[in-house]
Symmetry: C2
Subunit: 334 residues, 2 copies
Amino acid sequence: MMLGFNEPEFSAQVASAVALRPQIEELVDRLVDEGFDQVLLVGAGGTYAQMWPYEHLARRLSTLDVRAAIAAELIVSGDARLGERTVAVFTSVSGTTDDSVRAIEYCKSKGAYTVAFTGYPESPIATKVDAALVSQPKTWPFDMQLLLFTGRLLARRGEFDGYEKLAGELAGLPGVLVDVARQAEPVAAAFADAHKDNDFHFLIGGGNLWGFTYLYSMCILEEMQWLRTTRVHSAEFFHGSLELLEEDTSVILFQGEDETRPLTDRAEAFARRVSKDVTVFDTRDYPLTGISPEFRGLLGPVVLDTVMSRVSKHLERVRDHSLDLRRYYRVMDY
Amino acid sequence: MMLGFNEPEFSAQVASAVALRPQIEELVDRLVDEGFDQVLLVGAGGTYAQMWPYEHLARRLSTLDVRAAIAAELIVSGDARLGERTVAVFTSVSGTTDDSVRAIEYCKSKGAYTVAFTGYPESPIATKVDAALVSQPKTWPFDMQLLLFTGRLLARRGEFDGYEKLAGELAGLPGVLVDVARQAEPVAAAFADAHKDNDFHFLIGGGNLWGFTYLYSMCILEEMQWLRTTRVHSAEFFHGSLELLEEDTSVILFQGEDETRPLTDRAEAFARRVSKDVTVFDTRDYPLTGISPEFRGLLGPVVLDTVMSRVSKHLERVRDHSLDLRRYYRVMDY
């Protein structure tokens, strides 16, 4: 039994995301055929962080211009490449994020083609974009859709041979992730119990997990638990933040199985020499049945999101602090 | 009299950086003539953060592919565009940063043309690159050189008309920045005196000051003062971090005069509703004699670096904590 985990709902949500495969492929194929030379992955907060792994993937494998952008900054700063050959991709759980709504309008005003992934077909975001791809309500994260989108795109450009196999394996993701959640449950409970009174956490992650590191620090620990954090990229750890470490500093590392694993290993090895409270959440601990070894690294963000969702629920329990409680967001006007 | 400020040395350093103008222009012109399609701005820690404003500038004005990269990550993750048409730019005060040395070797192995700005002509970095542009020892920051480099590049591409005027005005920068430092001195002393006992600071900045926000948080407050911080982009503030604010939270905002000013204004207005300890360091407070209004925004990073260097010296004083003290960096092996 998992704390606050609605398994049928969770499975249906993940299934609804991977079920978008044919629509995503049809869309990508059409866009490739029409020709474009820039992909903007636009978000705000958590949905911005969720874009980083796919910018990172494209940078490694593709000569196409793919970059993540902050919705509110894009509107004021612009982008000299933004135009009729741009595809701008948005995600939003509720379909109502104001910064994203305005950024869609901005991108359209420049002639870009706009795409959104959301759970609400009647929402402002779904109705404003040129193409809305709708999953079950409240589906999160968007890694499944973004991986299919980016993977198909790179495959069509001849830059990613494994796409068909990967997309096939993603059909099993609902069961894979339920297994991950189940296995993570006692780990999450133990972490929360041991850190009930910690008011500061030091987070480290790299590669395609850097976005999740940022997200978990800002959108979960800071926003939902009002806990102080610092967050640093594995490759940046040795250039400043390490000096903060003390024997009792809670250090959380997110570790995956991509090419940046040695960077996080190095940060971990150092952290363990100073702190007695180092926790590594590592995708390697999870079997991911049916997922080929070469794709495990790509699934790092969604696997760790599942693991850490369990941690969040247990932090909520031990700290008696609802994840839904806000002091300011949608409480105060601003 | 300014605390620990060697005015002749500071002026000579800034002068030595802007005096690189002819060499920078000759280099950029040659690179443009030879043809290239990607500029990688590669750094580690503070020198990575220093690249962000110039990626930001290029993105606003140019269709050229210009991006900042973390040296250690670039080596393991690669970049599908990296090749013979890439110019890779490095900066290093000492010319010895190991991550950057290795990244230079990596970029050269892919055929890229490498450029470095440093203060030591015999250093590993200066001697490894294809073109080393050497300022006075210990010259920091590198904004002068990077602004001249990026400005000339965009000018040659027809994407920045103001370059000649800007470059001419930069000749007066040594005097301008000494005036900034002098004016900031009492502000810095007052901030430090009032925050002697603060063990946590919440930093906000956006646009071309986001890099400096990251740098000041990680490389100064965390690394040199062992103070806890969180750092958030102005445009991201409302998507999580704001929930951390309490009445006594020390909030530091970096404010400039570029197009993202309204994003930071909005974060400031909110922060002031919650916290009674909000400090804004604003380039608008400084006259910058001889700098045209249209360039003030571009100089935000170097102006605030000068202001905050004064703050750092006063934090060192009130906290009796040397800025040179390290627990781990170059103390422990790792």
